[in-house]
């Protein structure tokens, strides 16, 4: 038995001055992640400081948008959906949803790729993932 992911209404992300560039890029279909320029290490979620050194020597860089499922669940509500952690090829594990697929067939370790989903009230689209 298959459980197709629902096209649920997604609340708009609340933008703030620090992360506005991330959401502007999302509107252009680009998936950005944080880069600490002190250490050369990527991080998630985007923020105004390096979680490795606490300096503000950080920038947003485009990610490949591919990775594997680290863990997931299927919320068995009227609109089934699958919150998950995806481990990006760049390293960071991103909390997201797995969409546009049979949720009963999901597996840890499965390869996925980014897809942007529109949000309510004309909000910025949010990065979700679908089987690659």
């Amino acid at each position: 038995m298959a459980t197709m992911s629902a096209n649920r209404a997604i609340p708009a992300p609340k933008e703030d001055p620090t992360t506005k560039p991330f959401w502007d890029a999302a509107r252009a279909g680009k998936f950005l992640i944080g880069l600490c320029k002190d250490t050369g290490k990527h991080f998630w979620y985007p923020r105004g400081c390096s979680p490795y050194t606490l300096s503000n020597n950080v920038e947003l860089v485009e990610a490949k948008g591919t990775g594997t499922i680290y863990s997931f669940t299927v919320m068995r509500s009227k609109e089934p959906h699958a919150p998950a952690y995806v481990e990006l090829d760049e390293g960071p594990r991103v909390f997201t949803n797995i969409v546009d697929c049979d949720l009963d067939a999901l597996k840890i370790g499965q390869k996925v790729k980014v897809v942007f989903k529109p949000t309510e009230e004309g909000g910025a689209p949010v990065p979700m993932f679908t089987p690659a």
Partner: protein, 390 residues
């Protein structure tokens, strides 16, 4: 400096209500505070230290201190770490007492999410404005149950844990709850009942989840001289520690909890080890929450929690580690969605020999209470408290 021996828990009270249709949250705070003071043999004006969290109505401790007429306060602490706060507050109270900042500390918790019809675990919630992770997680339907479910899914993948093993945790809680006249779910259940209950968020079924209840509780912590002047059995604080665990910049590892750090520190302070503990109150928001803490506190090896909890090992009189003998959050109550308070209260009952006769651990001298606050699969805190009957 250690708090080992610096303070005693002399008052404990759990509100009997599970649905507070006739009381406000503030009134519940007052009722549990009065109950704990009566239990200790103390009165309101003995209280010079007050502890609560943001679950208390008002700005930190200010409004509840006013409501309850606490006029002698010289030490307050409203540090909030979610449901484990009240376990942590016992340690903070012991520190304040050791430093001479207060003599009699009152810790209160109350809430009425059930009467208010709150969707506690299945709807995305923000704790407050301006939280930097919210924009990246609220749209992704981050809820309490999905956060904990991802931990369970990963545990099953990494260690081969099964739904039937997790179900044993609920079975044990229900075996205890049948003796508690206040328990919301007093009927014993089987492993089959749990795994056949509706799936909420894979792999957690409805019976893997705790109840939603109103009510609350309170504790009185005081210095040794005062404790020894009162008529109640002596419950000494041996050790208490807290820790937080983060998403680690994207390096989150769902295989362990902050209890690994809080537990190690508390055991070191108490100068005892996990195998010495005769009774354990383990925060049970979900069955997986218990499994993670048991491993991280060292009651069994990492990954062996499933085998450890199976076959009734947590049932008083049956297994090696009696836990949550009041029925816990899984069957008794989870007041204000914060289970740390009742965890300490039941441990105090066990050490006093005042648990229900059917679940009382004979000669219980050493007990532990552990809490988890926040979202286990995102970012959370833990607090560990070790107590001894003197």
């Amino acid at each position: 400096m250690s708090i080992n021996g610096a303070a005693y828990i002399v008052g404990a009270f759990e509100h009997p209500t599970r649905k507070a249709e006739g009381q406000s949250v503030a009134q519940l705070h007052a009722e549990v505070a009065y109950g704990a003071l009566q239990d200790a043999g103390l009165s309101k004006d003995d209280v010079d230290g007050f502890f609560c969290t943001s679950a208390a109505p008002g700005l930190g401790p200010i409004n509840m201190a006013d409501y309850m007429g606490l006029t002698k306060l010289r030490h307050v602490d409203s540090t909030d770490m979610g449901g484990c706060s009240y376990v942590m507050h016992v340690g903070h109270a012991a520190q304040a007492i050791r430093e001479g900042r207060c003599n009699v500390a009152l810790i209160t918790l109350a809430g009425r999410p059930r009467a208010e019809g709150m969707a506690t675990g299945t709807v995305p919630r923000s704790w407050a404005p301006n939280i930097p992770d919210d924009p990246f997680e609220i749209p992704m339907a981050r809820t309490v149950v999905t956060s904990y479910a991802m931990v369970a899914q990963r545990h099953m993948h990494q260690y081969g844990t099964t739904s039937e093993q997790l179900a044993w945790i609920k079975v044990a809680a229900s075996q205890h709850a049948q003796h508690n006249p206040h328990a919301m779910l007093p009927k014993p259940v089987t492993v089959e009942d749990v795994v056949n209950s509706p799936m909420v968020a894979d792999p957690l079924h409805r019976l893997d989840c705790c109840v939603i209840s109103d009510g609350g509780g309170a504790l009185i912590v005081t210095r040794p001289e005062i404790a020894k002047s009162l008529k109640r059995p002596l419950v000494k604080v041996l050790g208490c520690a807290e820790a937080t665990k983060n998403q680690a910049a994207g390096g989150i590892d769902l295989s362990y909890s902050a209890a690994r750090a809080s537990g190690a520190a508390a055991f070191a302070e108490a100068k005892v080890k996990a195998s010495d503990i005769q009774y354990a109150s383990i925060y049970d928001s979900f069955t997986i929450t218990v499994l993670m803490q048991l491993e991280d506190l060292g009651f069994c090896e990492k990954g062996q929690g499933g085998k450890f909890v199976a076959d009734g090992n947590l049932i008083s009189g049956v297994g090696k580690l009696p836990f949550n003998t009041d029925g816990g959050g899984l069957c008794n109550n989870h007041p204000a969605n914060r289970g740390g308070m009742t965890k300490v209260i039941e441990a105090v009952r066990q050490l006093r020999g005042e648990a229900h006769a059917k679940v009382q651990v004979p000669g219980c001298k050493l007990a532990l209470a552990n809490g988890i606050g926040g979202l286990l699969g995102h970012r959370h805190g833990a607090a560990t408290l070790i107590m001894e009957r003197e």
